[in-house]
């Protein structure tokens, strides 16, 4: 966990980000800061995500509703990919006999 930013630091980091905009992202629950005793904090991952949201808003003129939909789909896609990768890694660690059997089942399924 490298890089932890406070609200104002996030605003400074991302040129196209305003206070209102970050607050809107949070209100839409597409950005959820980490609650800490010192207040909300943002990680490097949040910065990248906010940057993407700003690009979608500015460069592609994505509106609020579509933004929520796109992030939801992205989150689901990444979640599904991550789960698939874990399954593939688990399968890869199995003996080749098991791998062959699974490959057959998948091909015929």
């Amino acid at each position: 966990m490298t890089g932890i930013y406070a609200f104002n630091e996030v605003i400074d980091q991302i040129a196209s980000l305003t206070r209102d905009r970050l607050q809107l992202f949070e209100q839409l629950q597409i950005i959820v800061p980490v609650q800490t005793p010192d207040g909300p904090r943002y990680q490097a991952l949040d910065i990248r995500r906010i940057t993407l949201l700003c690009e979608l808003t500015d460069d592609f003129e994505v509106n609020e509703d579509a933004l929520v939909i796109i992030t939801s789909l992205l989150d689901q896609l990444h979640g599904a990919n991550a789960r698939l990768e874990r399954i593939l890694n688990a399968v890869n660690a199995e003996p080749s006999e098991t791998k062959r059997r699974l490959a057959e089942i998948i091909a015929n399924g």
């Binding site: 980490v34 609650q35 904090r41």
Partner: protein, 315 residues
């Protein structure tokens, strides 16, 4: 199954057309079945909202709904009719007995097109009606919470602040991990009708500890020892998650050697067992190499010098 369409969308009866549209879109974007393929509760919420919006967006339909002429599903609440109004209809089954009913595949006047059209309508109606239950669970809300390493390792109680300013008590279970999500049942958004409230989903961010790191259920620590302790062996105090314990450093200990403290690790996920603490030794020379030590080593090396790299290739 009449539902209050305004309540379904979470707006008042006086809401403007724009407010109704906004409310619908807010529910739709979060609950559309194509956007949330495996969430049945979301689908039910979407269907209810879609049905409510479908009716309320049309000013005439909305007027009739407000006036009580149609119910929430758009079905006529027809004024009571009289039989005589229907009695002379051509398709009155009572007047056509023996000539075959319309809609009956065995009848002479069977219209296949109409039959399947009706079938499709009833299917759609059935599917929709099934989704438009009055009682649906509310939506889950998501939070992220930073937890100090020790609180996660040992378990603790803390609070999070909700968007409405209220606080919610959160019990961090013993052995909680970074990235783990806790589900607080019924602490999400209110349900629709008699449906239960959604859940609050709290994803933990465990702040790293300067001395303890994790490998699965095992806790890794680093233990600096002095040269004399390494050579002669020693009893050394080691911090564990639950306080200090004395550990025996064997005579002739090496840097990188690992001592295992059984059961001093983190509580395993979903189990009662605990991992171990792995203590990695690190020999630290004195910051100031005094003349005594230097002389002793110079003398010692003459007779006892050894090559620790003897079995390394290329040395």
């Amino acid at each position: 199954m009449t539902q209050d369409l305004y309540a379904t969308l979470g707006v008042s009866k006086q809401a403007s057309a724009d407010e109704i549209k906004k409310a619908y879109r807010k529910i739709a974007r979060a609950n559309h079945p194509d956007l949330n393929p495996s969430d049945e509760a979301a689908e039910a919420r979407f269907k209810s909202a879609a049905q409510a919006y479908d009716l309320l967006k049309d000013p005439e339909q909305r007027r009739r709904y407000d006036a009580g002429e149609i119910d929430g599903s758009g079905a006529e609440k027809a004024p009571r009719g009289y039989y005589r109004e229907d009695a002379q209809r051509r398709d009155n089954p009572y007047t056509q007995r023996g000539s075959g009913f319309r809609g009956n595949p065995d009848g002479s006047q069977f219209d296949a097109e109409d039959f399947f059209a009706q079938f499709a309508r009833s299917q759609a109606g059935g599917g929709f009606g099934g989704g438009a239950r009055r009682d649906m669970p509310g939506q889950d809300t998501h939070f992220r919470l930073s937890v100090p390493f020790m609180d996660a390792a040992l378990g603790s109680k803390t609070r999070i602040t909700l968007p409405d300013g209220n606080a919610l008590e959160v019990a961090i279970p013993e052995g909680a991990r970074d990235g783990q999500t806790l589900r607080l049942r019924g602490k999400g958004e209110a349900g629709f009708g008699g449906g239960r409230a959604g859940d609050a989903m709290i994803t933990l961010t465990v702040t790293p500890h300067p001395d303890f790191t994790l490998n699965g259920d095992d806790v890794l620590t680093d233990l600096p020892i002095a040269i004399d302790e390494a050579v002669l062996g020693a009893k050394v105090k080691v911090q564990t998650l639950t306080g200090a314990v004395n550990v025996t450093v064997p005579s002739g200990a090496n840097s990188g050697q690992v001592l295992r403290l059984k059961g001093r690790g983190l509580k395993a996920k979903g189990g009662k067992d605990k991992g171990d603490q792995l203590v990695k030794l690190r020999i630290v020379t004195p910051s100031d190499i005094d003349s005594d030590l230097r002389e002793f080593m110079e003398k010692w090396r003459i007779e006892h010098g050894y090559d620790p790299r003897a079995d390394k290739v290329g040395s």
